[in-house]
């Protein structure tokens, strides 16, 4: 027994030795840029490849700190007090205001050349701007949107009208009728996949479904006086939420445990999918000519679509700001990078990127998504209380869809939580002043 224990200990120590070797490598600092990025594969593999190209061309060592999605936004803020803050962080655009307010990131315009900034699309620039001082605090190569993917064969069988632009999008009644008709087809198990599998209590909940409430009612919060009471739980929002809950209770939505592929797997059990631009390649490959891309329905006040994506910011505690800026300029103008992203159907955030993104220009493909983004995009609330706003809304949405809880009650709860948080922080000055 003793012998065995000794052997095991020796093995452990042998395995541990890399920890000490690793310590030495981190010494070089001046010519190193550390980048923290996140996300699902294979998109981030493209980022990694671009970082490697930059390293090769510039001679600056890149320390790539890859992090998966879960809890990314929460943990990032933990870095503020750590001496080890990366030079560049990738962050989710709606959280930007919170980071700026907390002093994590710096204005970026002085570091990045104007031509690179000018290349960014308007919606992209807006998501990177802090509304208080109208300064740019981040840059990005991408943006996002959500469209309604549909199986044309099913739509034709129920005789649904196929809208071609957000101007003639389905009305809420039309949408409800289509859902109900599709539900009656024997092959269709669920008329719509709202990607419950992504987790509706995550950012997907707010990104995916706050536009519904913007279109049908009053959105999440008053963007002038930053009060949620009476807005989140307005009469219009509650009426819509009750209708939405009815759809969920009819089993019209694919449940979370059925996975994210019911629209395009061999069963074709879901007739439509409410999903981001990223679904297109998989859906196209599986459905071929049966795939049709529709604008989001008009739930009352005209179609509203989401925007905003992951953006790059330079941290205020970073050690190598010039190197960081050089890196960002590089990836925002790297054609190889754009080509990699194009293959993944990333939504272009720069004019250069858009110029090579054929899918988004083809009327038979995703052109409607581009048109919709230009005409109907509304960003998520740009306010330092966003972490609470999104948490409360996503929770309420999840309760409405999956919990069958009284919509008026959960929306009021969410409003109360948000107002409470803003009050706790004295209104997040200078907001609300």
């Amino acid at each position: 027994m003793v012998k065995k224990t000794v052997i095991v200990m020796a093995m452990m120590i042998a395995l541990v030795s890399p920890i000490f070797a690793q310590g030495g490598q981190e010494a070089a600092e001046a010519d190193t840029v550390s980048v923290m990025f996140q996300g699902g594969e294979p998109e981030q593999a493209a980022v990694k490849a671009a970082l490697e190209r930059f390293q090769e061309e510039s001679g600056i060592t890149v320390e790539a700190l890859y992090t998966p999605h879960g809890g990314y936004n929460q943990k990032l803020s933990g870095y503020i007090n750590s001496g080890d803050m990366p030079d560049i962080i990738q962050l989710d655009a709606p959280y930007l205001s919170n980071y700026v307010w907390s002093g994590v990131v710096e204005p970026i315009a002085d570091y990045i050349s104007p031509s690179v900034i000018a290349d960014m699309t308007e919606s992209n620039k807006t998501q990177c701007t802090y509304p208080i001082d109208n300064e740019l605090y981040a840059v990005s190569h991408q943006d996002s949107t959500i469209v309604l993917y549909a199986n044309k064969a099913y739509l034709e069988r129920v005789g649904a009208r196929i809208p071609e632009s957000p101007d003639d999008a389905w009305s809420i009644d039309e949408f409800e009728q289509v859902l109900s008709d599709l539900a009656s087809l024997p092959e269709v198990m669920w008329p719509l996949d709202i990607m419950n599998a992504y987790g509706t209590r995550t950012e997907w909940g707010t990104f995916g479904f706050s536009p519904m409430f913007q279109s049908a009612g009053t959105g999440l919060i008053d963007r002038n006086n930053w009060k949620s009471e009476g807005v989140m739980n307005s009469k219009e929002n509650i009426t819509f939420a009750e209708r939405l809950q009815g759809w969920a209770q009819n089993d019209w939505f694919v449940p979370a445990s059925a996975g994210d592929n019911q629209f395009f797997n061999s069963d074709r059990a879901a007739a439509m999918a409410w999903c981001g631009h990223w679904l297109w390649p998989a859906a196209e490959q599986a459905l071929g000519d049966d795939l049709v891309v529709l604008p989001l329905p008009d739930f009352g006040n005209g179609t509203v679509s989401p925007n905003g994506s992951w953006v790059w910011a330079i941290t205020s505690k970073g050690k190598n700001k010039e190197g960081a800026a050089q890196l960002l300029e590089f990836i925002l103008s790297d054609m190889d990078f754009y080509n990699d992203l194009k293959a993944l159907n990333v939504f272009p955030g720069t004019k250069t990127f858009l110029s090579i993104s054929d899918v988004y220009k083809d009327a038979d493909k995703m052109a409607v998504a581009m048109e919709q983004a230009a005409k109907t995009a509304v960003s998520r609330p740009q306010h330092p209380a966003y972490p609470t706003i999104t948490k409360s809304f996503a929770q309420a949405f999840d309760d409405i869809i999956n919990g069958g809880v009284n919509p008026a009650k959960v929306l009021s709860n969410a409003a109360e939580e948000i107002d409470e948080d803003i009050k706790d922080n004295d209104g997040y000055p200078p907001f609300g002043e």
Partner: protein, 282 residues
């Protein structure tokens, strides 16, 4: 044992094996799925008996997750977990045994007070201090390091007390004799008490090793970049976000299970004995 009893025993063994196979079938499922190449195939198969069968096994998933240039480098997560486990176990053994020994054989009066104080600390559930500890770790600038994944666990009231109890069984006279011959307090610990208590060391190594390997809540809070992320958190986050790559996820699970299984098969009796003693002594 009569002839009849033996036959009964054999029949019972056969029945137990049959039930046992059903009980450990989820583990077969994991291994079989890790040998399938396509995530959609796995999802398709899971709805039928095909879940337990693979027609053309491949090790591709393992090659992919262990490829150092892949985005999710499970080789590194595995290594991180090993580092954390080894340092936690060694640290716990050294620090807790020294404390247990001193509290038992020390001459200072304060030990008499310290012992019940330390034991009473056991009632604070780690889960109830983890969020405040996270706040504290952020203040100390220790987020996203190995240190913060190791230090909070190596002084544990449970293991200090466990060493205390094991060492109590060592006859006082042995230590006294050495002491009279001029050995120092430290030497008596190092040369007599520690070597004699290999079973306590093995128990703590196994219990703390399993704890550390399975650790999820705390590293979920304090790790951010992948250079310090343990394999448990990597697997969990791999299984939560959007599209789930079941093929590689199953391979990663096998990878995480493998060392546990190997250690268990080698030290079977010790595993079971340690765990039984953790219930009684803890």
């Amino acid at each position: 044992m009569t002839q009849n009893d033996k036959r009964f025993d054999r029949i019972k063994a056969a029945i137990l094996i049959c039930i046992g196979i059903i009980f450990i079938s989820p583990l077969f499922l994991m291994i079989v799925s890790s040998l399938k190449d396509d995530r959609l195939q796995i999802m398709e198969d899971i709805g039928s008996i095909k879940a337990f069968w693979v027609s053309n096994p491949t090790l591709n998933n393992f090659v992919e997750i262990l490829n150092p240039s892949s985005l999710q480098n499970f080789g590194m997560y595995f290594r991180n977990s090993v580092i954390i486990l080894a340092l936690t176990a060694i640290g716990t053994i050294v620090i807790s045994s020294m404390a247990g020994y001193t509290l038992l054989r020390g001459r200072m009066k304060m030990h008499k007070i310290l012992l019940p104080v330390i034991i009473s600390l056991y009632i604070i559930p780690l889960e109830a201090i983890m969020l405040p500890l996270l706040y504290q770790s952020i203040k100390m600038g220790l987020i996203d390091t190995f240190v913060i994944q190791i230090l909070p666990f190596i002084a544990s009231p449970m293991y200090i007390f466990l060493f205390y109890q094991f060492m109590k069984q060592v006859p006082h006279s042995i230590g006294e004799a050495a002491f009279i011959e001029g050995a120092s307090f430290w030497r008596v610990y190092k040369d007599i008490y520690l070597p004699i208590n290999t079973s306590a060391i093995a128990t703590v190594a196994i219990l703390q090793g399993m704890d550390s390997w399975n650790q999820y809540f705390w590293p979920l809070l304090v790790t951010q970049s992948d250079r310090v992320r343990p394999i448990s958190v990597a697997i969990a986050s791999f299984s939560q976000v959007g599209t789930i790559y079941w093929d590689r996820l199953m391979a990663a699970s096998v990878l995480m299970m493998l060392p546990v299984l190997i250690f268990f098969l080698i030290f079977q009796r010790f595993f079971i004995a340690s765990i039984a003693s953790s219930a009684v002594k803890g």
